[in-house]
Every structure is written in structure tokens, then in C-alpha cells.
């Protein structure tokens, strides 16, 4: 049973549409949700969480359809959208006191430990904190009610490298204990560090989803000098990137025979792939 199963999700806006978005999350895994700005990550997350109404598709959590089981599902999941951007002038103590009433499985001890380790003073208001600290507070709330699935929207943006690493360690610990993590990000190095699976969205369509290692192994990157890419290879290239001292090109592993290549990173694929194949 998938912790989250999205099937043929569609949503139309005047200038954008989500088109047959389908993927699923496996229990206990960390899945990265990656795509450029405007690719449809936020729209997908909002549809999953019931904030917008999809035009088509089915969404189910823990094997239960979302629409009929919204209450139970919401009490078993946690969502943090980056910084705490609500009630910025209320003390965190008040925000926590109000929020925790909604979660019967609230764990005060865990919350206190996270607040202490993040260095957060409950008597302050979010407006008095830096954006990185606001992200940490929003995470402290999300991580303190024993959620089985944690959905995070760009959790590491605004965090310094040490804090970012700290957070990724926390996510890996939670994953080892069976919590499923789904987080959207632009920062590909975060996913390189901790993601088991990825969901790659582009222009409202899922370009790929599945094991990160398997996804990366499908691609290679070759460098070419000032002379550029030979014509015979140009057609096979999945994408081309101009560099200071030549060009880089992305190839499918099967097309890269005989070339001097390195393994592709997520960054390479995201910035270069124009026709990355859709695959389950």
C-alpha cells in the first residue's frame, strides 16, 4: 500500500495545466519533488492537500481516498510550507498552544527538544526571526505530532549550510523510523544527500519518477571543447549547456558509447534535459 498515490491528476488554469500527474510514495522512503519554477510543484502539492480542487484524478493516502477521509488523513500527515508565514506577530508559544490542540498525538517532549536544538525562543514572534529560523519553527511544529507522512515545500531554502545539513539528518532519522518524507526543492544537492526516490515534474507533466540512483544511471554528461558538439551527436543529445570553455551535453547512457563521459547529477538533468523520458 502506498503512503500516497496520485493517479492522473489534472488541473487547468488559464495559462497552465497539470496533465495526468501520477506517482506514488513508498513507506519509509524520502522522495524528492523536483522541478523548475512554474513546473507545477506547488499546484500539485495544493491539489494533494485539498487546497485546490483537481479537475480530474484520484488522490489517496494510506490506501484511503482523500475526499472521504480528509480528517483522518490530515491528522496523520504534516505539512510545512517553507517559512512560517501566518500570524507573524503572535508569539510562537501562542501559535504552538493553538496548533497542538488539533493533534491528539502531539508530543510535547519532542517539540521541546526540537525548539531547543533549533535555538528557538517561544517568547518571540515569527516576525522577529530570520527566514531560516521561521523555516525551523514551521518544521518543529510539523515534526512534533507523530505524522506518518511529512510533506515539505522547499524546507531548506533560507537555511545556512549547517542548519540545512542538520535538517537533512533529521529527515533521514525519521525515515529510518518508518516516517515517509516528501519534499519539494530546487536544491538538488539536498536530494543527492538523502533522497531515495524522486518525482521530476516539468511543464505540468511528470517527466520521471522512481529511484534516484536508477534515474541518474540513465544519463551521462559529455564535455566538448570550443569546437562544440559534432553534428552526428547533436541529434542524440538530450540537452546542451554552454560553458565558459566549451559545451556540455546530456545523453542517455545507451547513446553515450565511445564518448568520454561522467555520471549525470540531478542538476545536470534538470538544467539540460528537454525530453527526459516518462517512466514508472
Amino acid at each position: 500500500m502506498s503512503v500516497l498515490a496520485v493517479n492522473k491528476l489534472c488541473k487547468n488554469y488559464p495559462s497552465f495545466r497539470l496533465d495526468d500527474v501520477s506517482f506514488c510514495l513508498e513507506e519509509g522512503k524520502i522522495t524528492g519533488f523536483i522541478g523548475r519554477n512554474g513546473a507545477g510543484k506547488s499546484t500539485t502539492l495544493k491539489s494533494i492537500l485539498g487546497l485546490v480542487h483537481p479537475d480530474a484524478g484520484q488522490i489517496s493516502f494510506f490506501g484511503m481516498p482523500f475526499n472521504e477521509n480528509e480528517l483522518e488523513i490530515k491528522s496523520r500527515i504534516a505539512f510545512a510550507a517553507g517559512e512560517t508565514d501566518y500570524f507573524p506577530h503572535k508569539k510562537m508559544r501562542t501559535l504552538t498552544e493553538v496548533t497542538k490542540r488539533f493533534y491528539p498525538l502531539w508530543d510535547e517532549e519532542t517539540y521541546a527538544r526540537y525548539m531547543k536544538s533549533f535555538g528557538l525562543d517561544e517568547n518571540k514572534t515569527p516576525s522577529e526571526l530570520s527566514s531560516g529560523m521561521r523555516v525551523k519553527y514551521s518544521l518543529a511544529l510539523a515534526l512534533s505530532h507523530n505524522a506518518e507522512l511529512i510533506i515539505l515545500d522547499e524546507p531548506t531554502s533560507g537555511l545556512d549550510p549547517v542548519s540545512r545539513d542538520e535538517l537533512l539528518d533529521i529527515l533521514m532519522d525519521l525515515s529510518e523510523r518508518g516516517t515517509t518524507i516528501f519534499f519539494s526543492t530546487h536544491i538538488t544537492s539536498d536530494l543527492d544527500k538523502c533522497a531515495d526516490d524522486i518525482v521530476f515534474i516539468r511543464s505540468g507533466k511528470i517527466a520521471a519518477f522512481g529511484s534516484l540512483d536508477e534515474f541518474l544511471s540513465r544519463y551521462r554528461v559529455a564535455r566538448f571543447g570550443e569546437e562544440g558538439i559534432p553534428q552526428r551527436l547533436r541529434e542524440k543529445a538530450q540537452g546542451i549547456k554552454r560553458m565558459r570553455d566549451g559545451t556540455q551535453a546530456l545523453f542517455l547512457a545507451s547513446d553515450a558509447q565511445g564518448l568520454t563521459v561522467r555520471t549525470a547529477g540531478l542538476d545536470d538533468i534538470m538544467t539540460m534535459a528537454r525530453d527526459a523520458q516518462s517512466e514508472n
Binding site: 490530515k74 491528522s75 508565514d85 533529521i170 516516517t179
Partner: protein
Amino acid sequence: MTFKAAAGGARPAKNGAGAMRALLIKEIKLSLHPTIPIFLLLSAMLIIPNYPYYVVFFYTGLAIFFTCLSGRENNDVFYTAMLPVRKIEVVRARIMFAVLAEAAQLLCAVPFAVLRARLPLPQNSVGMDANAAFFGLSLVMLGIFNFVFFTRYYKNILKVGYAFVWASTAMAVYIAAAETCDHVVPFMRDRLDTPDPAYLSEKLAVLAAGAAIFALLTLAAAAESERSFERLDL
């Protein structure tokens, strides 16, 4: 760094009453605009010798508008929608909060109405005296506010001002009509607009009818708003 999560496993049945209570606490601790308690002081306007006393409850509507407006700036609805509560409960809690604010304003107004009646001054020459019938007619006005404001607000929670323009216009029209009737309709002028306890049974009937109309309009507001909010994309 590792943290031990407490043992989970039990599927808690969060009953409706528990969620509504938590939502009301959230309304009071987070959403409430300072003008809600501050405008309670405006109940003292009932001792102004000559004044359209309905204006006191216009201010209650204004404070409710400020609460929704500051909610927009504070991403109140987004925060609430992410909690494990039904969308209809979000609407119900807000309307229940508004009813509590209106009830508080009414309760605060009663001692000032009593005080005004005891002052050695002629009756209110502008319009209705602050008596039992007045409170019934004020409840009708508040019911109209609840219906007009919330049904428009929950069609588009970003256009709070738009909802309030309609609601305040409705209240202004009501006040003008009610105070005019107080001068030209004999039943109102001669029986209802008298100091208590004169014609008390008629006035109590108006009070009861006013309360019933308030309840009907507010329940209709809730039903329509819940339908609109359920359909809304946030």
C-alpha cells in the same frame, strides 16, 4: 542528532465537538482583532441622549470585518485549512465567533440601555429608544449583516472589502428604514418606541421575533458560506 518519536499507532477519533472547540480557541487566541473587545466600549453610546442607537451594532460588524481583513494579511485561512479540520468547520467556527462577538456587544449594551432610561432626559428624538424592542430590531440587523457579509466573503476570501461594502450598505439601509419607520409607523412610534415596561408584551414579542430572524439568517449564512468555501480553490 536523533530524536525518539513517542509511540504512535492509535488512530484517534477526533470528534466534531473537539475540533470546533479547538477552532474557537484558535479564533479567540489568533484571529480576533483588537477592535472586537475595544468596540464593546462603544455600547456606552446608548447613553448619548439623541442618537441612532443601531450604530453601536454597526461597529460590531466593522470589528468582524477587521478580523477577516487581518486574517487575510496573516494567512489565517491557509493556516486553518491545513489543520485536521473539515472546511465546513472552518466556516462554522468563524461564524460562531462572530455570533459570540455580537452577543457580547448586546450584553454590554444592556446596562447602558438601563442607565439611559434612568437618566432625567427626554426620550431619544433621533429614533428608537434603547429598549427591549430595540434589541430585537438590532438582532435583525445583525442577522442581515451575517448573511450579506459571510455569503460574499466565502465566495472569495481575498475580497474582504467587497463583502463589507455590501454588508455595511445593507446595515445603513436598515438603520435608515428602521429609524424612519420609528417616526411614521404608528405601532412603532406609539407602542414600541416607549420606555420599558410600557407595552412590554409587544416589545418582548418583537425581541423574540428578532432573535428568531437572527438565528434563521445566521444559519442560512452558515449553510451558504459552507457550500461556497467547500468549492473554493485556496
